[in-house]
Symmetry: C2
Subunit: 207 residues, 2 copies
DNA sequence: GGGGTCATGTAATAGGTTACATGATTCT
DNA sequence: AGAATCATGTAACCTATTACATGACCCC
């Protein structure tokens, strides 16, 4: 259901959140988002930021506070959070935390069409995926360690912990899946394989 | 890195996949996608389908085969897969299976800003989330059982099994997180709470 | 002092979603 | 026969991503 918000891009949520600290101009916001590592959890790109800021302003969640100019640099418009913005931030976050939305992770999509590849190849590809997953996991763990070493409290790395959980779950799923193909119970793998053997590399989808 | 595909929408992948069975016109494709339950794993909506079909045609992955007319209904253009399309299907799928992409699940984003809500409220919201997750899990499981009862082999429900895995992982993460707030080690929760107590309901973000 | 890259923003393009349109079929 | 729903597609709109622009600062 998920109430239709005036501004839907999650980048906007990050903007609202950071503006509770102090008024800022868009570029500064972008810089802050990058520095705090928010861009690993919320898709960020330069262009979208300006768009989102405009949308938030039009919706009344933030307001132009001053337009200063520093030397000959382009004008920087500083925005501040409004009361409506503060409310929106809290309501939106509440909804996100309380209500899981149906999403479409790429691997789910891929699995739903996996029959289009022959089982032997799938096993091989999944093996490579497992390495990639392990790499990612190690990378995140390193990030976590580094951050904690700087004295940052757990609260600020919860999302990275969650990512690790997700990666672990995916890895063990993939392992189980591989095993179910290489040591099959029943004959479904045979059927799957036969399908591709007959039509060497243009098998019809099994889905 | 993920090579830039001429058509990026995953709906296009499903289209290619279904066209390996036989040529179809767009509406039929949509119908089939819905019937086979693909729309639970790949975002589908009517408008996007026509867009994607056009894109695929322009890219040479599918080709207009005939334009039949049935009574006074609008013309139906039937599309068939080309060799390039068959290749694209396989390569794309391979890439998706082999290489995990960085994604932005909403809950990850929410967690990254969770400090903007006070811990007491977060605990409450997470409790509700757990119920929702359990509901979803039950729903998927019911789907799985129903499908299996119809004699469909495991291969075609792998993606639903994976979803269940993901839901379980998320649930247990949330449980652990709740526990870490209600039975905290160290004083980070106190700090978090104090933050919101001082500024009754307009706390600055802790991130 | 010329070449890169930082700071800052606007504009053009492409992608996707919603809304609209209309004949055909089915239901009551 | 009128209402609802199916079948089928087009068009308008909104969002997001890329590309473009330009002065300032820094490096060698």
């Amino acid at each position: 259901m998920a109430k239709k918000r005036k501004v839907g891009n999650l980048l906007a949520l990050a903007v609202l959140s950071h503006l509770t600290e102090r008024p800022m101009h868009p570029y500064e916001l972008g810089r802050t988002l990058q520095d705090r590592g928010d861009s690993r959890s919320i898709k960020f790109n330069h262009g979208s930021l300006y768009m989102v800021v405009q949308q938030l302003a039009k919706a009344g969640f933030i307001a132009e506070q001053e337009t200063s100019r520093d030397g000959q640099r382009p004008e920087r418009t500083v925005y501040a959070l409004t009361d409506a913005g503060r409310t929106e931030l809290r309501e939106w976050l509440r909804e996100l935390v309380e209500t899981p939305e149906h999403e479409y992770p790429q691997f789910v999509s891929a699995l739903s069409l996996i029959g289009a590849l022959p089982p032997g190849e799938v096993v091989e590809l999944l093996g490579r995926r497992l390495s990639h997953l392990a790499e990612q996991r190690a990378g995140i763990q390193a990030e976590i360690d580094k951050t904690l070493a700087q004295g940052v409290p757990e609260l600020f790395i919860v999302e990275e912990r969650f990512r690790v959980t997700l990666l672990d779950a995916e890895s063990s799923f993939v392992e189980r899946f591989v095993k179910s193909i290489t040591e099959p119970e029943g004959d479904w793998v045979k059927v799957w394989d036969a399908f591709h053997s007959r039509q060497p590399s243009s098998g019809e989808p099994l889905s």
